[in-house]
């Protein structure tokens, strides 16, 4: 029985991989274009539809264990430098013929975006701003890719909320964030329900540490915001402690949190957040502002 299930899962994922290959860079503007079959050598697999129907992916086929070792040398793809990053694949609708590049830069990053719940909501909230989800787990990243492809397809006729402004990539933000983003490029960074790494010995693997915060301060512009939310109180206290200790960050007040739309989104829209709500668990939020660079520093 288990084997059968496994097989089904494999087939499903293979089919989705084909769709991804074909549609990842598509703009969903012209029906003729998208109805193209994937590369002809796959003549045997007629399992995936050649129409524009791209279904929302089913999460159960993309399960992956919740932890990943951020120190290991995964065979990751990352650009040599921000200059070398090709964003046109991720935001094809923003491609500018003249500059041969996308016309705006990513400003919002969801670090460890998981299944992409927040990202989807950010798309509607900030239709003019490019948002990027980064996720270290391969299959979870693929799920979000498939989800975005399906949404772009579904809303292709919408002029604004068409999900062209969100994208996802597999990456290790703890190691390679500066390879993707220029100094001061980001205005918001989200850290939603990060891996708590309970063991003392593993604390360096946490996504918020005093040394990593210096890198976040580098990619964030002055006044940019770090959003954190977790259902683990210890981790919340840890994140608050480290952010408060870091000279480049200052905590934003509860009043500020109340009026901020992103806090609401973060509270309600992530898959982890919804799970916690279902289980009637607690959630802790803390937001921090990136302070100006000290005058005696460069």
């Amino acid at each position: 029985m288990a084997e059968l299930k496994d097989n089904k899962r494999k087939l499903y994922r293979k089919e989705k991989a084909e769709t991804r290959k074909a549609f990842k860079q598509a703009r969903f503007e012209d029906d003729q274009q998208i109805s193209a079959t994937p590369s002809g050598d796959e003549s045997g697999s007629n399992s995936f539809s050649t129409t524009t129907e791209v279904d929302l992916p089913r999460k159960r086929f993309y399960r992956q264990r919740a932890h990943s070792n951020p120190f290991s040398d995964h065979s990751l793809e990352y650009p040599r430098s921000p200059d070398a990053m090709d964003w046109t694949k991720l935001y094809p609708a923003y491609y500018n013929e003249e500059s041969k590049d996308v016309q705006s830069r990513v400003e919002i990053a969801d670090i460890g975006c998981g299944y992409g719940g927040l990202l989807i909501n950010l798309a509607a909230e900030f239709p003019q701003i490019l948002c990027l989800g980064m996720e270290i787990r391969v299959q979870v990243t693929q799920y979000v890719e498939d989800r975005i492809i399906a949404l772009r397809n579904k809303y292709k006729d919408e002029p604004k909320k068409n999900f062209q402004n969100i994208s996802v990539l597999r990456g290790n933000a703890m190691k390679f964030l500066p390879n993707f983003f220029y100094k001061g490029q980001l205005s918001k960074m989200f850290f939603c329900f990060p891996d708590p790494h309970f063991k003392q010995r593993k604390h360096k693997a946490r996504i918020i540490t005093n040394t990593l915060l210096s890198e976040y301060a580098y990619v964030l512009r002055e006044g940019g915001v770090v959003y954190t939310i977790t259902d683990v109180e210890d981790l919340h206290l840890w994140m608050v402690k480290h952010l408060e200790e870091h000279p480049m960050f200052e905590r934003l007040s509860k009043d500020w949190e109340k009026q901020d739309k992103c806090v609401q989104l973060m509270w309600n829209s992530t898959e982890e957040g919804q799970k916690v709500s279902r289980n009637k668990g607690n959630k802790w939020v803390a937001c921090f502002k990136r302070l100006p660079t000290p005058e005696d520093c460069e």
Binding site: P70, F71, D73, H74, S75, R80, S81, D83, A84, N172, M174, K175, F176, P178, N179, K183, K204, T209, N210, T211, L212, L213, S214, E215, A217, Y218, H246, P247, M248, T293, P294, D296, C297, E298
Partner: protein, 414 residues
């Protein structure tokens, strides 16, 4: 029988003293060269023998400061631990990994097994010129050290990606368990350099994930920029004395990069592979399970130094050669020469502004040789430093590991 090579050498050029480390020992020799003779006299002027038992003794050292009560307790713990570890670890290896001299005043050594920083003041008026200031245990294995501009702090980079500062003088040791890093990478650090521009200090750190980071100092939480250009690990950085804005870096790549570190600009790079081809041996091949048809011998840069007029000396791991490059007009770095050697050099250090010393990995002969830059050509000198001695070992098996830079290379197993 062979002499144990110096795994690390350093030179105090103001006094012509050569510092060498073998296993867990440091020896200092003063070189007196009479103009008429090619055989200078090498007199021992200092020595240090590390007697700390790795892994457990360091904890007692720290505890001792806290008071007598803890001591007794620790001793019993230690005894238990020692008993345990004898069954598991048969022969603890002692090892000094790096030696660096700062402003002819301080010698800083890093020890491998018990992860310590050992700081000495160099005082030639003493019978033993090495005056131990402190031995600071570190949370993780240190890999490189530097010192800030007024020599107040030793700056230590470790294998866990963190950088710590240790006050140079002052007796107080820090408890390594509560030390806080001043900056960190989520990677292995390989090198750290302190430098200055317009009266401001900066700290440069290099890691295994191709990064070179430039941070402010002492506000090291403000990153100035990254220098992107390497495709493999970076293992060595050097700022030439003559042009303090420039940085030369190398590692697991086929090339050496030239940067303006302050402006964050890549300037030029120079290929090494074509010049190293005659010198590769089995050692340079990838481990068998990673060998493919397209595999080429692997280059690992272990040290970069500069001499006068923009000449750069590059030491590549375990090749019978020294490479000479030159920075021209601060805008180009070009290949000049590959000097063929009888044996590989384990480590090199600047002797004076036109010559270097290298420590030989050879079964016989002198432990240290001097090479001189003569009209732009690097040549071995006939100066024999026969008086410089380490210890005799039975065989190569007893020699500390000399080549480890290439172990930084990332292998795609996944």
């Amino acid at each position: 029988m062979m002499k144990h090579p110096f795994q690390s050498v350093a030179v105090d050029s103001s006094t012509s003293c050569i510092f060498g480390a073998f296993k867990n020992h440091i020896r200092v020799f003063k070189v007196d060269r009479k103009p008429t003779s090619s055989v200078p006299s090498c007199t021992p002027v200092g020595s240090w023998d590390d007697e700390v038992i790795p892994n457990y003794q360091q904890t007692t050292e720290v505890k001792k400061q806290e008071g007598g009560d803890a001591e007794a307790e620790v001793k019993t713990k230690k005894a238990k631990k020692a008993k345990k570890s004898t069954t598991v670890v048969p022969q603890p290896t002692f090892y000094i990994r790096t030696l660096d001299i700062f402003s002819d005043k301080y010698l800083v050594a890093t020890t491998d097994n018990d992860k310590s920083i050992v700081i000495f003041e160099i005082d030639y008026s003493k019978p033993n010129c090495l005056v131990l200031l402190k031995r600071q245990p570190m949370p993780k294995r240190p890999c490189s050290v530097s010192m800030d501009s007024n020599l107040q702090n030793v700056v230590v980079a470790d294998k866990f990606g963190d950088v710590y500062t240790i006050p140079t003088v002052g007796e107080l040791l820090q408890d390594e368990k509560t030390m806080n890093p001043i900056l960190g990478h989520v990677s292995m650090l390989t090198d750290v350099l302190m430098t200055e521009k317009n009266g401001k200090q900066f700290i440069l750190t290099a890691d295994r994930d191709e990064h070179i980071r430039v941070s402010n100092y002492p506000k090291s939480y403000v990153v100035k920029q990254w220098l992107f250009g390497h495709n493999e690990y970076v293992s060595s950085m050097h700022i030439p004395n003559s042009s303090p804005d420039l940085l030369v870096s190398g590692g697991g790549d086929d090339f050496i990069c030239l940067w303006n570190w302050y402006e964050g600009k890549f300037i030029d790079k120079v290929d090494l592979r074509e010049h190293l081809n005659p010198f590769f041996k089995d050692f340079h091949n990838a481990p068998e399970r990673f060998l493919t048809e397209s595999s080429v011998p692997e280059i690992s840069v272990s040290k970069i130094l500069s001499l006068l007029d923009g000449y750069i000396i590059v030491l590549v791991e375990n090749v019978n050669s020294l490479l000479v490059l030159k920075i021209e007009n601060k805008s180009k770095i070009v290949f000049k020469q590959a000097l063929t050697l009888h044996n590989p050099l384990v480590d090199i250090s600047v002797y004076n502004d036109s010559s270097i010393v290298g420590s030989n990995d050879a079964d016989e002969g002198d432990l240290v040789s001097i090479f001189e830059l003569d009209n732009g050509i690097l040549k071995p000198t006939d100066i024999s430093l026969a008086g410089i001695e380490s210890i005799e070992v039975e065989s190569r098996k007893e020699v500390s590991s000399l080549w480890y830079v290439n172990s930084l290379r990332k292998r795609s197993e996944h």
